[in-house]
Symmetry: D3
Subunit: 136 residues, 6 copies
Amino acid sequence: MPRVAVTRRITFNAAHRLHNPNKSDEWNRETFGKCNSPNWHGHNYQLFITLEGEPDPETGFVYDLAKLKQIVEDNVVSQVDHKNLNLDVPFLEGTLTSTENLAIGIWNQIKPHIQGADLVSVRIVETENNIVEYRG
Amino acid sequence: MPRVAVTRRITFNAAHRLHNPNKSDEWNRETFGKCNSPNWHGHNYQLFITLEGEPDPETGFVYDLAKLKQIVEDNVVSQVDHKNLNLDVPFLEGTLTSTENLAIGIWNQIKPHIQGADLVSVRIVETENNIVEYRG
Amino acid sequence: MPRVAVTRRITFNAAHRLHNPNKSDEWNRETFGKCNSPNWHGHNYQLFITLEGEPDPETGFVYDLAKLKQIVEDNVVSQVDHKNLNLDVPFLEGTLTSTENLAIGIWNQIKPHIQGADLVSVRIVETENNIVEYRG
Amino acid sequence: MPRVAVTRRITFNAAHRLHNPNKSDEWNRETFGKCNSPNWHGHNYQLFITLEGEPDPETGFVYDLAKLKQIVEDNVVSQVDHKNLNLDVPFLEGTLTSTENLAIGIWNQIKPHIQGADLVSVRIVETENNIVEYRG
Amino acid sequence: MPRVAVTRRITFNAAHRLHNPNKSDEWNRETFGKCNSPNWHGHNYQLFITLEGEPDPETGFVYDLAKLKQIVEDNVVSQVDHKNLNLDVPFLEGTLTSTENLAIGIWNQIKPHIQGADLVSVRIVETENNIVEYRG
Amino acid sequence: MPRVAVTRRITFNAAHRLHNPNKSDEWNRETFGKCNSPNWHGHNYQLFITLEGEPDPETGFVYDLAKLKQIVEDNVVSQVDHKNLNLDVPFLEGTLTSTENLAIGIWNQIKPHIQGADLVSVRIVETENNIVEYRG
């Protein structure tokens, strides 16, 4: 049976700052540059979630993308949209808010809710120049 | 010898409707929501066809993309562009016109015509939020 | 006082067909080409609504874009999204569904609901190659 | 002599929050919704600066866009990029950080530095759905 | 009667170089920087042609965009696509190939062929950061 | 430990021409069509470099993208931006300047400079319709 990958894009806007509290301010400034700026900055994040599986003969769907959207809204967007990734997000607590760690955190938030298809990719476009992908 | 992947984008506009004729109208409305709307809706489809192979030393090409474009025009675009995917397309007859099934159908239309390189991906961007990929 | 223009983008998907019922089939085929295809085709329409006015000192807003979005949802999107522009849309009844006429129709649907700022533009991106703008 | 408009795009990332300190918290929450979220959120801002004038016969340029870029870097980007629009930006002090006010502020920062051509537009794409333009 | 603006996008790829032959090499290098690089560079140009007029009651069209495309193909694209703007293009002979002058040249190529609607804008996106518009 | 892929986009503009000097002019015209045009043409190339590795616990980074950008600037962009790929680029000497060969050449320029993460993809978007990817 053919396997097909389906991707849903979901956007959110958030503030964050790259800062390792176990290191000196100087180390942080040298390591993270302007991304360490104390009063935060932010991004329009584009999130692409990809599932893979066999299309259901009755629907033609690998997975109901409206249902996927709801899972992402409930478990990710509700926590991160118009929020501060460093201060407001339980699933990122104690984590450096790099896009890499954000992708891993989002994967872990979504993974338990997906049945009947395989989560294969969480991709985040942070800016038009910076993209991160986590495939589990 | 190095293997390289080359992708050609081709666009088409079509109408369709998600509807399983073996199910009740109520089941169809509940399952497909507004995509089941009786008088059709439509999309600007973006199709990305990817072939993989070794660049020919004489041309530097994995595959002549003008030739690939012609194959896709002759075997796909001529059947789907400005058409109704449910009513007008021989290679989708009897198929639910989900983007998943469309990708599989397009793969099957193109595959027999590609020699000297491997068809590795048919990707369809149905809307900016919904993307499907079939890798055979 | 400074005047500023604010624009909200809203997307919808619809089917349509260019066909003048007062003319022969041959005239329609010659005039509209593949856009006259009998079983409809469709597009991902992007709609850009622009209002102009002075920012309110208490909010910094020319107009509450969430309210504008609601007006457009109630008076336009609810009638056209996942619908057939020729068959399903009261405000286009008896109209050739060219993008020009669609823009004029949308303007007329929105105009009576905007107070406190001026509607100055309805712009529709029908495909990446075709754009229409109506400024009243 | 022909007049031509030239536009330079410049991007920056910033945090902000919509909040009127002269109003109650409840008023702010009701008026600004999630944009009032206390710990900030942020955007990838795209800024489009347009100048108009006659092309110089010796260069073919209305204005040297590298020089325009430098003016914008020195007077805008250096103050807003990877910064908090509410806390860090002298030219926005005491201003509600709506995109409307941001456009007016940027116009005022750039205007005095442009000679030999006319500043005619400051346009900001805050998100793919929200766009603001100030034409002075 | 309502007036509506319709825009057609057309793309082409070309090489060029900014160089004023009446000036010294040093002046050219200082004025144009890397755009003066002797062996040419190039761009994917996006051209947006806008016409304005009243929609024809029989077609709903301000202007047949297929006809507009043909006019642009015959009078512009055939001369510039996959060509060198400095060496190959009769309508740019003796002209500095700035995007400003390119827009004026394209306007003059198209203008005589448009009847029944008004040519109101030639806009060129040279790169994602540089845009030029000529309105006659 | 989780492995994550990080991608940096970098743009450059260049001229080139497809021409095999070991073949007749006629063969070149027939094989490469307008891409063989004698006085060059050009593109806005978008380059996407992807590295894969484990995020560093102290930074959250798979690789410092500012450092990656510098490596690409020093070893690729400095040689190709605003240059002629056929005439000016040491690492392409004696090579047909197809996008396939450009991707392989760029991989070889970058590869020796990447430590602590794996170079996994060099992807080039030559035009919106033509994309090439080399994965080593």
